[in-house]
């Protein structure tokens, strides 16, 4: 059986494949990436794992990624390397990000105490519920606590329609408003990139709360956004086509190191505020970004180049890769070219992953963890 592998959620097929795998790998746990279309069948997977005594952790994502490209059904099952640990933590609505980080840090510190020292510094890979409004603040507060004891990476799970769903699970339960913390080997530390160019013009988000922008340039957010899209790109934006346009004209936060953090506006609230995937700092200076019309090879090449710098040749290795759902929406069918490029250029044995609602990582292996949109992430998945 190839590792990782894709499975349908048919109980018989699941039981059979899990039994076969578990017989040879009795001490390993599984990471599961479940297609949103099949989320109702999650209990089949949980039941099968419980029967086999397999520890399971995972998330629900809009679509899956395999060597064949995007997959709408089934589940990607990734055997976790020895020593890996996971913790599914609830985050209470309205809880202060510092409290959430404290809660996470206490649990992760326990996990670190059990981490095999001979495996070096681990990667803390976090899968958040994409509906949480303050993930960037949680990351800031978590870094205060854990510092450089781990490498940081992660993604947001959830629905392509940005509706709240129970998108995180283990073998016993599923939940929304939570985070799945996975302690994995250093190779799971993702390389992240979006390749969108920095724009020339800026605008100010003058009133924000979490991931909602109420005002831009001291005007109601949607009116201002509509006006700028019209002025800069000649596009007519209205409430109906907002989401389809938002992915093409995302907002960017410019950093001093010339990194551009993308925020994709995905929904328009009744009060005219704009809902983004990912937190926007209060009074942040935002830039209107025009996403490249075609993906090209640059972004993938940069991701693979950095990955090769860290791990050498990727040939024959298994890659874990996530691809932003907003990026996929923007590029349309061309997004598949990037996935195929990733497979082709890496010469990896397999590429496994999912479309995501946000990505966490740093341009450097040791960098400060940042929350992104519109990115491709990739890491080497060691399964033993």
């Amino acid at each position: 059986m190839p590792s990782p592998w894709h499975s349908s959620l048919d109980p018989a097929q699941l039981a059979s494949s899990l039994q076969a795998w578990h017989a040879h790998h009795p001490d390993q746990r599984l990471l599961a990436l479940l297609a949103e279309a099949d989320r109702e069948q999650l209990p089949n997977l949980q039941t099968a794992c419980l029967h086999q005594g397999i520890e399971l952790a995972g998330g629900v994502f809009p679509r899956l990624i395999s060597n064949q490209g995007f997959v709408d059904h089934g589940v990607m099952l990734l055997p976790c390397p020895g020593g890996s640990q996971s913790a599914l933590l609830r985050i209470h609505t309205g809880q202060d990000p510092a409290q959430t980080a404290q809660h996470m840090s206490e649990r992760i510190t326990q996990m670190l105490a059990a981490w095999p020292t001979d495996q070096g510094k681990p990667t803390l890979f976090m899968i958040f519920d994409g509906m949480l409004p303050d993930i960037a603040s949680i990351l800031d507060a978590l870094y205060l606590q854990l510092a450089d004891q781990v490498f940081y990476g992660g993604v947001n799970a959830g629905s392509a329609q940005f509706q709240p769903i129970p998108c995180l699970f283990d073998q016993y339960q599923s939940m929304m408003h939570g985070v799945l913390c996975l302690l994995l080997p250093a190779t799971a530390n993702p390389v992240i990139n979006h390749g969108y160019p920095a724009p020339e013009h800026t605008l100010t988000a003058t009133a924000t709360v979490g991931n909602r922008i109420f005002q831009i340039d001291w005007r109601p957010a949607f009116d201002a956004y509509q006006h700028i899209v019209k002025q800069q790109f000649g596009a007519e934006l209205n409430r109906e086509n907002f989401y389809t346009f938002g992915v093409h004209f995302p907002l960017g936060i410019m950093l001093a190191n010339q990194q551009l953090l993308i925020r994709v506006p995905v929904a328009l609230e009744d009060d005219g505020s704009v809902f983004c995937v990912g937190e926007v700092p209060e009074n942040a200076v935002l830039m209107m970004v025009q996403a490249p019309t075609v993906p090209g090879d640059d972004c993938v090449q940069q991701v693979l180049g950095t990955l090769q710098q860290r791990h050498g040749s990727l040939e024959g290795k298994n890659l874990l890769s996530f691809y932003c759902a907003g990026r996929s929406q923007h590029f349309g069918p061309a997004a598949l070219e990037e996935i195929h490029g990733l497979i082709r250029h890496s010469q990896a044995a397999s590429v496994t992953g999912a479309l995501t609602l946000g990505e966490i990582g740093s341009p450097h292996e040791w960098g400060y963890p940042l929350f992104h949109n519109a990115c491709i992430t990739a890491s080497v998945w060691m399964d033993a």
């Binding site: 004891q149 020339e200 040791w366 940042l370």
Partner: protein
């Protein structure tokens, strides 16, 4: 990085600086934001009180390096060349190793804030090569330096305020302890409640009076503590107190939840909050059951003494036996007809029982002589009013019984004896006894004359109304006999 992009970064960092009010939060947020913007994984704030030439200091803030975090607030050696006045990108790995004790840092961005604070950003490789450091950071660092000073001032102010607050709290606590001790020591039952009537607190004496534990009283409404009729009366009184804002004092007989009866004086007043709004009601019960018992005992003793004196009179003149009882009965009936209260009626009855006590000094053969008295004898008899006063004046009655006895033969027109008082100079009780005494005498046999009929007697009263007798008293007496069918006690017995 173009001008717009640079401004965006400056704007963001400036806003971060302006948001915090404590040094720790300010340094945390600023260093976090610097890491966010620069991509450097580690940020430190070094405190070097000996200035920029210091060779030691301490790490006020460490973000991103777990090992250095363990050294935060502990002294750390500062190798020569690490500190300086200027913003500088340090790439001397050996210098950074001497400072951090680690060989992984190859880049350190020195950001001096003032003479005693420096921010240092660390990274394993060179960062920010494209950035004009000398243009970006000076205004931010100057702002930050001022913000640190403001935060320190603000913290000092907060410390001072807290110290003052603590001092006030200590005084308040002391005052509260004193008040509590005072309340606990008081034998008087004290309570206080909010404006809605809910008990906020009470002392042990109140708890004992109510017969409930203090903790079971607090938070309760009167109807949960007192019997229903008392509770509704208290609630009504509370409403009146709040409406009038005037202190109240009542005398009640209260019954506890356990059914025990108790005579109390009950005082209530309002207390106010700092805005002079009514905050609640404070009250006290003084248990006067003992005093009431003593008063009753004294009253009984007086009644017994008076009864004994009255009996002595009976033995001196059998022809007038029962006179005092009958006068007393009629006087009280007239007094009640006139609307006197029970306390005053009690005094009136007792005065009537002893009004002729002075006759004890008159030879009994004069009193019992079966003919009209001559002038000298009558003058002697007239002395009995004065004598009654002399006998009674030193006894501590709660009523003016000696004066009443002294005045009971005074006439309204001043023609009476012994002092010729007139009208309102004569006590009402004396005027009543005068009428009752005359009426009883006219309705009784005397050794020297036959009794008059009731109609004749009443006609006599009518005749002397205003001159001898108080008209109001005569009218009351007439009403009693004519309208209410009053009869003297002997007649009642005969009937």
């Amino acid at each position: 990085m173009n001008k717009d992009q640079l401004l965006a970064v400056l704007y963001d960092l400036s806003l971060t600086i302006g948001r915090e009010v404590t040094v720790d939060a300010l340094l945390t947020k600023v260093v976090q934001r610097l890491l966010f913007h620069t991509g450097c994984p580690v940020g430190l704030v070094i405190h070097h009180p000996d200035g920029l030439d210091a060779n030691s200091g301490c790490l006020l803030k460490v973000i991103g390096d777990h090992q250095l975090q363990q050294q935060a607030s502990i002294g750390i050696a500062l190798p020569a060349g690490l500190l300086g006045r200027s913003i500088q990108a340090e790439t001397d790995a050996r210098l950074l190793q001497r400072f951090t004790g680690q060989d992984r840092y190859h880049y350190g961005l020195r950001l001096p804030l003032d003479q005693v604070h420096t921010i240092m950003l660390l990274a394993p490789e060179t960062m920010l090569q494209h950035m004009p450091l000398e243009h970006v950071f000076p205004p931010i660092l100057a702002n930050l330096s001022r913000a640190i000073k403001l935060c320190k001032d603000s913290e000092q102010l907060a410390i001072n305020l807290q110290a003052e607050r603590n001092q006030v709290m200590v005084q308040l606590d002391r005052a509260q302890r004193f008040n509590q001790a005072l309340l606990n020591a008081m034998p008087i039952a004290v309570f206080y409640k909010d404006a809605s009537g809910r008990y906020l607190g009470c002392n042990p004496a109140f708890s004992r009076t109510v017969g409930m534990q203090q903790e079971h009283i607090i938070g309760k409404m009167p109807q949960e503590v007192w019997p229903t009729e008392l509770a509704s009366m208290f609630t009504q009184n509370d409403a009146e107190l709040i409406a009038s804002r005037q202190p109240q004092m009542f005398e009640y007989v209260i019954r506890t939840q356990q059914g025990q009866l108790m005579d109390v004086v009950y005082a209530k007043d309002l207390f106010y909050d700092e805005d002079n709004n009514i905050a609640g009601i404070i009250g006290a019960f003084i248990d006067i059951s003992g005093r009431k018992k003593a008063e009753e005992s004294l009253r009984q003793s007086l009644i017994q003494a008076i009864s004994a004196l009255s009996s002595a009179m009976v033995h001196r003149d059998l022809s007038t036996a029962g006179h005092e009882v009958r006068v007393s009965d009629l006087a009280v009936a007239i007094g009640r007809q006139l609307g006197l209260d029970e306390h005053r009626l009690e005094g009136l009855g007792l005065a009537a029982m002893v009004h002729d006590i002075g006759q004890i000094q008159i030879p009994s053969e004069i009193l019992t002589r079966p003919r009209r008295l001559n002038h000298e004898e009558f003058e002697l008899v007239k002395l009995h009013a004065e004598a009654s006063h002399e006998i009674l004046k030193d006894i501590a009655f709660p009523w003016p019984i000696a004066d009443i006895s002294w005045q009971h033969h005074e006439n309204m027109d001043g023609s009476g004896y012994p002092r010729g008082l007139r009208g309102e100079e004569i006590l009402l009780e004396a005027r009543i006894i005068h009428v009752a005494d005359s009426m009883e005498a006219m309705l009784s046999h005397r050794p020297f004359r036959r009794q008059l009929g009731q109609a004749q007697a009443l006609a006599q009263l009518e005749q002397y109304k205003g001159s001898v007798y108080d008209p109001a008293v005569v009218d009351a007496c007439l009403t009693l006999f004519a309208d209410h069918g009053y009869q003297l006690p002997d007649h009642k017995r005969k009937a």
